[in-house]
């Protein structure tokens, strides 16, 4: 049997493509290398019961995968490091049914119009290949509106003075503001910034057959036990309910089979280790910006830009110790953010000029704390001081933080390729990430870090500290591995096949029926989390294939 589309990956991109295509009458096979902990195994139209408030299971024991022992990646900061400096977990998002949607705390901002035309608006940067996207915000807006409804986004219209124009209101009002955020919002406003309730894919009211979030606090890196989070559960349930979809979990796609300009299907290794061929009229690749280029390379595609321009968000993390309990363990992990460090101001323009750069951009700033005790405990030394530190709890009880998702510029030398020797347990070469921040990212971080610390001081902080992720130590240190989980930009989108891998609809230039439907296609990284934009792009790609229109 030949399906209309085989979809590689069940995360936000793949699930969205599956939803749109199956609604249009297509038969789809969704192939996911990880396990199904999202849907009820006895009835895939119902949510499952595997997620829980369990820090051991989710933070230290790889419940959502990938387990770095059997599915490692490798890392180096540049070719000069040699083949690799690190083998293990490299900026992994979950490898499981639902993909990265399952562990995210659901911040789903839209990009702004400038994000799609950085070259035109701000101009080029030395060392980086900053280009405009081949589509603009206006083109994508109807798809943003559609996917906000599909995912279920809570937000406050008009709260962000820098927000992009919207054709539709947010589907839900924001959920309960966190105590610490109320205090940091006041402080930020006193300093002239413009914080607002974070657009969040967590239900504030019952929505689409799922309950309202009950603020349990186990959000970042956890699956939602009550399915209040807008992970791909809604799209996958709808897809399975059409009766036109098959979900193959624990199934790894090792190769897209290609004849001339057409793919005929994919080779799949199942949970029993046996290989089968899934024949398809179209192949949708939605494995994420590290695994997608890996699959294209494993399939023998040889475009020189496959894997190039990997971006991850160079994070600036500013922490402050408060003289009061911040209660970060209650609520949605992050309820407030601000855009001021993306938009920039006279001070940031002066900082760029002083560094000899034409411009700098920071990123979305998340107001948040630290909630989990095992994570906290591992930050303290062993010995007699431990019990007192844990009871006093400068990290979990009293820390508040400003985390900036700093925009990475696209550099040719930052890339994903196949490691020459390291393999996964199935025997296939693993992805190797080569990444280091450029001067733009370092200058932006050095400028905005102290300004974020000033907000925490205004909030009452007794001490502040600024760090970055990745850290700025030597290349051999594991701290040089990024941990943002925001992987984008490895199959760049464009109109010219010489300077891009996919066309403006996500179709691989050299093939007639292979489409990339994830964040790999991003031309620039913007300073926002990639999820909503990649989902909107996946919806658009699927609508183009099916000849249907978005439903706002």
């Amino acid at each position: 049997m030949t399906v209309d589309a085989v979809i590689v990956g069940s995360g936000p991109g793949g699930a969205t493509a599956a939803d749109v295509l199956s609604a249009a009458g297509w038969t789809v096979a969704i192939v996911e290398k990880g396990r199904n902990h999202l849907l009820d195994p006895d009835d895939l139209t119902r949510p499952g019961a595997d997620y829980s408030n369990d820090e051991v299971k989710f933070h230290t024991r790889h419940f959502l995968g990938p387990d770095p022992l059997v599915e490692p990646r490798t890392f180096r900061t540049s070719e000069e490091d040699g083949d690799r400096t690190f083998v293990g977990e490299v900026n992994s998002v979950p490898s499981t049914v639902g993909g990265g949607g399952t562990h995210a705390d659901g911040k789903v901002p839209r990009f702004r119009p400038d994000d799609f035309r950085l070259r035109s608006v701000l101009g080029p940067q030395p060392d980086a290949d900053v280009e405009d996207w081949p589509i603009d915000y206006e083109e994508l807006e109807p798809y943003y509106a559609e996917v906000e409804r599909m995912v279920g986004v809570a937000g406050l219209d008009g709260a962000n003075p820098f927000a992009a124009p919207r054709s539709t209101p947010f589907p839900m009002a924001p959920g309960a503001p966190m105590f610490g955020a109320l205090r940091s919002v006041e402080a930020a406003e006193r300093l002239g910034y413009h914080p607002y309730p974070a657009p969040t894919a967590a239900n504030s009211v019952p929505y689409d057959g799922r309950p309202a979030c009950n603020n349990c606090g186990f959000c970042s890196f956890f699956g939602c036990p009550i399915h209040a989070k807008g992970d791909p559960v809604a799209m996958l349930r709808r897809t399975m309910a059409t009766g036109r979809a098959e979900l193959l979990s624990e199934s790894f796609v090792s190769r897209i089979r290609i004849e001339g300009r057409r793919a005929t299907g994919v080779d799949v290794t199942g949970p029993d280790g046996r290989e089968r061929f899934v024949a398809a009229r179209h192949v949708i690749v939605a494995a994420g910006a590290i695994e997608t280029p890996r699959l294209l390379l494993l399939s023998g595609l040889d475009h020189p830009l496959i894997g190039r321009y990997y971006m991850a968000h160079f994070q600036t993390i500013t922490a402050g110790g408060m003289p009061f309990r911040t209660w970060a363990e209650r609520g949605r992990a992050v309820t407030h953010v601000h855009d001021d460090m993306i938009v920039g101001d006279e001070r940031s323009r002066e900082a760029a000029a002083a560094a000899g750069l034409p411009w700098i951009r920071g990123g979305l700033v998340e107001h948040s704390g630290a909630a989990m005790p095992i994570m906290e405990a591992k930050h303290y030394p062993w010995g007699a001081a431990h019990p007192g530190l844990m009871a006093d709890s400068p990290i979990r009880k009293r820390l508040w933080a400003m985390i900036m998702q700093g925009e990475d510029l696209p550099y040719f030398h930052n890339r994903v390729d196949l490691d020459p020797t390291v393999k996964d347990a199935r025997g296939f070469p693993v992805a190797r990430v080569t990444y280091r921040p450029g001067r733009h990212e370092l200058v932006a971080s050095e400028h905005f870090g102290p300004r974020l610390a000033a907000i925490l001081q205004e909030m009452g902080a007794e001490w502040t500290a600024v760090t970055t992720s990745p850290g700025r130590g030597n290349a051999e240190s594991p701290e040089s591995v990024p941990e943002s989980r925001h992987n984008v930009g490895t199959t760049r989108m464009g109109t010219d096949p010489a300077t891009s891998v996919v066309d403006p609809t996500g179709r691989v230039h050299s093939l007639d029926n292979v489409v990339v439907a994830d964040s790999s296609v991003f031309v620039t990284s913007a300073g926002y989390g990639p999820t909503l934009t990649l989902v909107a792009l996946a919806a658009r790609a699927a609508h183009v294939l099916a000849g249907t229109a978005p439903q706002p």
Binding site: D67, A176, R330
Partner: protein, 185 residues
């Protein structure tokens, strides 16, 4: 029990130094960290293996006591966790990237290096012995943190004593927190 009685005696003495008992809390031994570690090392003596507690609730805040029913492992999960706990043991299917030293061997070697005499040393000498084995002590300490502040179903955090000592509510589903508790605690 996976560890021998002698190994468990040394482990218990080391745990008491890594996180001592006191006014501020039960310490690693009081919270059951040795049982947490022994359960992990012997995870495959249980069926299903004691790797991932079940969901969605523990019963501590309502709902069913589902944490107590551990998840079954898929084939790749089992391979990964046998590699991590047992090591690669020269098996080709576990050595696709070379040999892997398992937790069982790391504990067996680390406890042997401390030696049975460790239990009879005075506390300062015990600390010095631990500092002389930094890799092993870091491994032990990481597990002590998990055994103190992880869910009791994994064998540690006895009766929630680890959470009680630090004012942490633990797993709160299905109750969660009210909007008022979030915004004005």
């Amino acid at each position: 029990m996976w560890l021998t009685d002698e190994e468990l005696r040394v482990l218990t003495a080391a745990c008491e130094r890594v996180v001592p008992a006191g006014d501020a809390g039960p310490g690693a031994v009081g919270a059951g960290v040795p049982a947490y570690i022994d359960t992990l090392l012997g995870a495959f003596t249980f069926d299903p293996p004691r790797i991932w507690a079940g969901g969605p609730t523990s019963g501590r805040r309502g709902g069913d006591p589902a944490f107590a029913t551990f998840h079954r492992l898929g084939p790749l999960d089992e391979l990964a966790w046998r590699m991590r706990i047992e090591g690669s043991r020269g098996l080709p299917e576990r050595e696709f990237n070379g040999p892997v030293r398992g937790l069982q061997e790391q504990y067996r070697d680390g406890l042997a290096a401390l030696g049975e005499g460790f239990c009879d040393l005075d506390p300062d000498a015990q600390d010095a012995a631990l500092r002389a084995l930094p890799a092993f002590t870091a491994l032990l300490y990481g597990h002590a943190c998990e055994g103190l502040y992880g869910a009791p179903e994994y064998g540690g955090n006895r009766d929630g004593s680890g959470w009680a000592a630090i004012g942490f509510a633990g797993d709160v589903q299905p109750r969660g927190w009210t909007d008022a508790e979030v915004s004005t605690p």
